[in-house]
Symmetry: C2
Subunit: 572 residues, 2 copies
């Protein structure tokens, strides 16, 4: 492609309303343009990266035995009423009426439609397993669309749905998708983790999120430095091994701690590490119970673990009035001794002894606290957020590293939720009717490209890995008016095209400074600069965008050298 | 792909609500499934044909210098208000509101969005010409969606928009697209005509429709048997060469024609060919004028030619009351003699003499009519529909053949309609601001596949040409339980996959009769049957779906033979 005949409108300035770097760079590099909030044009350059991502996905899905189809964007209300989601789904489900006043929605996901396909076409266990996928444009009417393609309203997604006769089959389908996803993100050249995710309100027995690692990521995750275990901190288990309780050595004492409210303040005042304190959190649950949770002073509560333990929808900090009622003191002085609430402690508290707790009175703390001597704890459980350095609960050898990640894919065992409500059954080998066991598997296509940019950029622009870069090679023709420069550039361009290389030729009549700035911004991985000075020595310059490495190569060697690099990248 | 792991739900029965053959066959061959009126799932087999069509389009568009992008389905009302189409577009434009009550529509076409892209990114004539295209899902809320993919509501379309500095440039862009479209439909292996189309109310100086020829086509077209001229009969010119008028030989006579109303009846009654009659049509125009049109008795009026001549939006047969007023008689007896209306005659009437016309009275006709002796004709013009056998108005050598066609593509010179209303301008080489001259170019992707089926099928099923067939080769494994048959089939399958051939292996445990019926229905062009009997002689059977040709080939020769056939087809 010739730059002069292409539409690649780069921007010098950072657009005002773009908050995150991928959004800024995709706008500046002419990859996307906004049409409305959360709705974008994929400009030619951006579409190329999108299509490459799609093709990697397609190849790996096919290799895993999934079958491609395409379902419509406009979904009739009937199917969503049947599943019950017409009512339950919030305003993200954009509902509309056609000219005959029939109700439709824009498909934000396609469980209903795909379940309808399968119940109408699959009758026997012999047609299973079946995994149908599509790469399709979806619409979710986000209340606050932002971050460009990261959280758009209209977006391209790969969604797949597996159908099996039983749980064992569904688990195999799940594992295939898990492996396909690993292959996909590996082939994209991205650093990522497959993390165990909390499956939240949707239910289902297991679920992994695929996270592209990037400092700007919304999600906090931990991964083991020695095995494959990785999890969202909301889900990550904390290893606790049975240990003998430490015998009490200190006496219980109520001490004055004037104007010391936070853990840090109290610890400093008493000249103790925060780990010697135990904090008492007073919480309310969706079941209208009040519970007190004990946690080592330097730890954070994982409210999802607590909610799961209590089998409630949510837990929240108790209101001031409730705290006063339970503790007899204002917020900030809660302690477990003499407290009028169920007492649940994190496992870590089990073996603690001689610790500090709140005194249930203003400016008072107990020191030298021991259980069960001074208080009775009703229940111990894994309640804290995992942290960097925690031992791995899976291999028990490694330790947690912590990362920020951007969720780009999700694999999910759905079970029979949809097949039961929508009566999607098959006959098994005994002639018995059985509900299909489903799984669902999504990848945000544009989101992955955006996440790849979050992970791979510098202050000058994109540094996309070769498999996702819109072009593999950029040939910069310095001074197109120089006949020799023009000829050499055109020759290289023609040879690269001939070799099947994706190449952009910057044949614009622009100053070198502008060409180099645009080159860095757009960040095509391999850049060849053809200039009069180099040609005098019979050389052109090769610059590797990711490493910054630069070298002069003889004219005759440049095309083979590029082809070799590209072939080598394909193999890894 | 293995049939046993694929989703290919064929149907024995013709679905009740499918009127046209392509719709019936696409349902029966498991290519599509209905979700709602005019909204379909593309099932795996159907999607393969769609994707092949898309890829042919993409390659030819790229070759012609067009640049691919992707615009959104949800279009903000503002852009459509700016062009004026928010108000003007009928109910086919599906309008909806988002959760914040902002107005949107589902894009039925993308002139507004693409013009917005270009006015924001193109500043100088040096960035021109530019042709942006997309392959995208569109929505038009048809009042009567029907015929499957032929007239759906949600459908896949390739739309392209060219931008040039001036008319001369726009004409070159148009020609490039015209040629690209010829290449596309040729590569699809379809019989088609590029016909000059009436550009209707949209304006624009030229326009061609690409018609796939099929008996079931909605459009009547004529094409020259000797040159490339082809046109919709609504548009086709009728050649008229100046000839000397025939001198009157007969006297004017008013005769009784009791109960003879139609041209056929009167001609038979008078024992004359219909070509000796001249019919008088009384018409009303959108400008509220009443005109009378004279046409040879065996010809049809082309109302579009008449409307263009009169420069009105439409002409319609006059209501009974008007006819009575103008002719003094009921409908069916109108004649030009003594008529109170403007008289316009088709060119063909110029040299007629001694003809028959209505008598403006019940059961009366004039015979021996001559002009200008008996009546004064205000104007002569080309007003009749072209017919088979008419001489070609372009080359003047050939004669018209007539066809039925299905419109699958349209190229259209738009001019400055959108660039002027939306202020899409560039600076020319003099620094002057100029409105961009646009063209637009559409291909219905699913519609083309459906039209290909209308053109290529028999009573047993599809006969799609190789470039559009979902698979190139079908290997039918007769009796999978026979170890030798299974082994030979698997070997052929593996070798074909290795050779890059698109192959479906029918490895189902089904009776041969079912497998052959499905094979004919799905109509994969090259079919290999592997059976125990053939294997005894070391042969398998090759059947060509289109020709029906069958032959036994030695096992060792089958894969090379297939590869050769496919390669040969690729070259044509």
């Amino acid at each position: 492609m010739r730059y002069s005949q292409y539409l690649l409108p780069t921007l010098k300035e950072v657009p005002a309303d773009a908050e995150v770097i991928s959004h800024q760079l995709m706008l500046r590099a002419g990859m996307i343009r906004k049409v409305a909030a959360g709705i974008y044009n994929y400009m030619p350059l951006g579409l190329r990266s999108i299509r490459k991502m799609e093709q990697i996905i397609r190849e790996e899905m096919n290799r895993a035995g999934a079958v491609e189809c395409l379902m419509p964007m406009a979904n009739p209300a009937e199917l969503w009423q049947e599943s019950g989601r017409w009512e339950k789904y919030g305003k993200e489900l954009l509902r509309f009426k056609d000219r005959k006043d029939a109700d439709f929605c824009m498909g934000p996901t396609h469980e209903e439609v795909v379940t309808d396909i399968v119940r109408n076409t699959v009758r026997s266990y012999r047609q299973l397993p079946l995994n149908l996928y599509q790469i399709q444009t979806k619409f979710r009417d986000e209340i606050r669309p932002r971050f460009g393609l990261m959280r758009g309203r209209e977006f391209i997604m790969k969604d797949a749905y597996s159908f099996d006769l039983d749980d064992a089959g569904a688990d195999i389908s799940y594992q295939k998708m898990y492996q396909a996803y690993r292959n996909i993100f590996q082939r994209c050249g991205l650093r990522f983790r497959a993390v165990e995710a909390d499956s939240g309100a949707i239910g289902g027995s297991f679920s992994h999120e695929f996270m592209v690692l990037a400092e700007s990521g919304e999600d906090a995750i931990v991964s083991c430095d020695s095995c494959e275990y990785a999890a969202n901190v909301e889900k990550a288990e904390v290893l606790w091994t049975e240990q003998e309780a430490v015998a009490p050595e200190q006496e219980l004492q109520l001490v004055e701690t004037p104007q010391q409210k936070t853990i840090q303040e109290v610890a400093a005042f008493l000249d103790l590490p925060a780990a010697r304190l135990v904090k008492t959190l007073i919480l309310q649950t969706s079941a209208e119970e009040v519970v007190a949770v004990l946690l080592r002073g330097d730890r954070e509560l994982n409210t999802i673990k607590l909610a799961n333990l209590l089998d409630v929808d949510w837990v929240l900090p108790a209101e001031e009035e409730v705290v006063r009622h339970v503790t007899g003191a204002p917020i900030g002085f809660a302690g477990p001794i003499g407290l009028d609430a169920r007492l649940i402690a994190d496992n870590e508290v089990r073996t603690m002894s001689g610790y500090v707790v709140g005194g249930n009175a203003v400016d008072r703390h107990y020191v030298g606290v021991c259980h069960p001597r001074d208080l009775v704890i009703d229940q111990f459980a894994d309640l804290r957020r995992a942290e960097q350095g925690d031992p791995c609960p899976r291999c028990k050898n490694g330790r947690f590293e912590s990362w920020r990640g951007i969720e780009v894919g999700h694999v999910f065992k759905l079970g029979t939720k949809y097949s039961e409500t929508m009566a999607a059954t098959v006959l098994d080998d005994q002639g018995q009717s059985r509900s299909l066991v489903m799984g669902c598997y999504g990848i945000g296509v544009g989101r992955t490209v955006a996440a790849a940019i979050e992970q791979n950029h510098d202050e000058h622009g994109l540094k996309l890995p070769l498999p996702l870069a819109p072009f593999q090679v950029l040939v910069v023709m310095l001074n197109p008016k120089d006949a020799q420069v023009r000829q050499a550039s055109e020759d290289i361009y023609a040879q690269l095209l001939e070799a099947g290389v994706e190449v952009l030729l910057d044949d614009r009549d622009e100053r070198p400074g502008i060409k180099f700035k645009d080159a860095d911004l757009v960040g095509i991985p391999l850049r060849i600069t053809v200039g009069a000075r180099g040609l005098q020595d019979g050389t052109v310059e090769l610059k590797i965008r990711t490493s910054g490495e630069q070298s002069a190569l003889p004219l005759a060697e440049i095309v083979p050298a590029l082809c070799q690099r590209i072939a080598a990248a394909d193999e890894t």
